[in-house]
Symmetry: C2
Subunit: 338 residues, 2 copies
DNA sequence: CCTAGCTAAGAGAGCGCTCTCTCACCTACT
DNA sequence: AGTAGGTGAGAGAGCGCTCTCTTAGCTAGG
């Protein structure tokens, strides 16, 4: 394709000036004559010169990349595309980076081979890394090798993290269902190993205990299929459930499908509340009552922290969450309505 | 945070070897004694040395970044998080990059200020750029400045592109609805300026003409709200429509909500077919019949092309699309069923 | 015993760029 | 007329790394 990419040397030669002058012109530098400027610009156009970013970075001593490291979103690569969470993270990070000349590099690690990759990333990252869904041992390992790191969601103790009041959100969701008159509230939780899922469990249990409701719990991965299966199982065991609190919108979407398949109407027979307020929540029918996780803001905060030089070990930034009331949760419909 | 990041020079000094030897050891190089190896590794650990990637790239003459450039997904930054398409693109690109030491850099351009940014990106990209939703004039401009570029979806003629048989997909969708016995099929199209949307319009019109059906058409942005509004308007004008073909899953989700709000049942009264087969299609209730766009594969193909050195002007790679039959489209329910 | 042939490791030349230092030249003020 | 001050431009020193070239120090073979 190209013999050899033209360098600034070539530009200087063609323009009949020195390398320094060429550089000055190219970087909008002042202190150049109109004559020199036009000659250099012409040379640039003629040669199709584009500066080598690596050389530039090296000379400037500025290394301007933040890595977004996510684990396990792509057992098959399609899985990630299916995940409404990570795209919000990217959006938030990018928003924080706008106006900066720092770039965002995205890395996805297969759940299995993550150990090896994590070392390599820690070795090559510069401005720092944002960890998404990275399990505690791996996060610690990363932190050992590179301190410039912030986890999205709590992970290992030592690793700086931006987190949300997950427990509070779950509590609010269950309380909301209780306030609507629901008394047999099933919970469909996320994977046991996940720290966010764990917090949501805690909030749910607190609310259950505070209101004296029965504990009807299922769980699975944070995915639609898992939500569907867990809900189907729950209905089979406890056909009288009148509400479902799911630990993610995707699971809630699965729950709604399972309920429909079992002949229950949402929200008339069974109310459903999700968690995340992702695009799924607004797209389903009926629109979903859910707990809004400010993912974009959290990612932006993590990014800004990295931009500012990182955070100390054990640093935490905690975001509030809000219950967003839509149509999937309501009081029971009057009996006999079909 | 750090006085000065340690360099390989420091490592060499601490280890009591030359820079060359340190480099050899660090890069798993052969030709080093066990003695030297252990000393260097110790020094690396002690200093927390991490090689400067810019210097490395410069010395190796290898520049290993592919840019993913998307326009207009973030009028507000949250918009992008809401877009199920771009995350699939990222997934596909990343899948193609796995095993390579090329990285993916994601860039989002606000629709307004894109002109300036596009030049900067074209100037600094190395391995090349994947264009997503970049309008023809901008894409051409990019191509003028940097030939290493592939657009996802057709854009300007000259710009290499990976595209899908959008027209064929739309045709298949409409034909499917016709086969189910639907005769008043409304179409909710995407934005007029968008090339994909245009192709889908063509396919729809072809099918309409071929089957002699009436043309009932609305349009808007590729978003849920637009789908809702357009459908609501259509129902108001033509209360007798018995099917909706939407140009995206998100619009179809909006259509389903609008139909429900208008007292129509899906699929009994009105069948709905979407386009994309994004996560939305499986999450909604009932699960959506839709046209599967192999976004991940397309993005992977674009990435591989870039990895292989790019493509000639006007290059095209065309992917087939498939109708995925789920529950949102069916024959009319027997009259009188409630 | 001398030299060919090997391995380990140092010296040093870039990679492409930016930036400081320096100089030549010109204007303007005393 | 002499010097201060300003401006445009070249020379050259790095930035941190890798890699080739070269040398030192061995072992082995004639």
């Amino acid at each position: 394709m190209q013999d050899r990419r033209p360098t600034i040397e070539d530009v200087a030669r063609v323009a009949g000036v020195s390398r320094a002058t060429a550089s000055r012109v190219i970087n909008n530098g002042r202190g150049t004559s109109a004559e020199a400027r036009s000659r250099v610009h012409q040379a640039v156009d003629r040669l199709g010169y584009r500066p080598n970013p690596a050389a530039r970075m090296l000379a400037l001593g500025r290394t301007d990349v933040i890595d977004l490291v996510a684990v396990g979103f792509e057992a098959d690569s399609a899985r990630f595309g299916t995940n409404p969470y990570l795209s919000r993270v990217v959006a938030g990070a990018l928003a924080a980076l706008a106006g900066t000349d720092t770039h965002l590099r995205v890395r996805l690690l297969a759940e299995g081979a993550a150990h090896r990759s994590i070392d390599e990333i820690a070795r090559t990252t510069t401005q720092g890394a944002i960890l998404v869904n990275v399990p505690p041992p791996l996060a610690t390992r990363f932190h050992d090798r590179c301190e410039r790191v912030v986890s999205l969601g709590a992970t290992a103790d030592r690793v700086p993290a931006v987190e949300a009041r997950n427990a509070q959100g779950a509590h609010a969701a269950v309380t909301h269902l209780h306030d609507l008159g629901r008394r047999r509230i099933a919970a469909v939780h996320g994977p046991a190993g996940n720290t966010c899922a764990a917090s949501r469990r805690v909030g749910h249990l607190d609310a259950i205990r505070a209101t004296g409701l029965p504990d009807i719990t299922g769980d699975g991965q944070f995915r639609r299929e898992a939500g569907y299966r867990a809900t189907a199982r729950l209905i089979a065991t406890r056909p009288d459930i009148d509400a479902v609190f799911a630990a993610s919108d995707l699971m809630a979407a699965g729950a709604i499908q399972a309920l429909t398949a079992a002949g229950r109407r949402v929200p008339d027979d069974v109310s459903v509340v999700g968690f995340d307020d992702s695009v799924i929540a607004t797209a389903v029918n009926p629109p979903m009552t859910t707990v809004r996780l400010p993912v974009e803001e959290m990612a932006a905060a993590a990014t800004r922290t990295l931009l500012d030089g990182g955070a100390a070990a054990r640093w935490r930034l905690v975001f509030p969450v809000d219950l967003v009331v839509r149509a999937s949760a309501a009081g029971a419909a009057p009996a006999g309505t079909t």
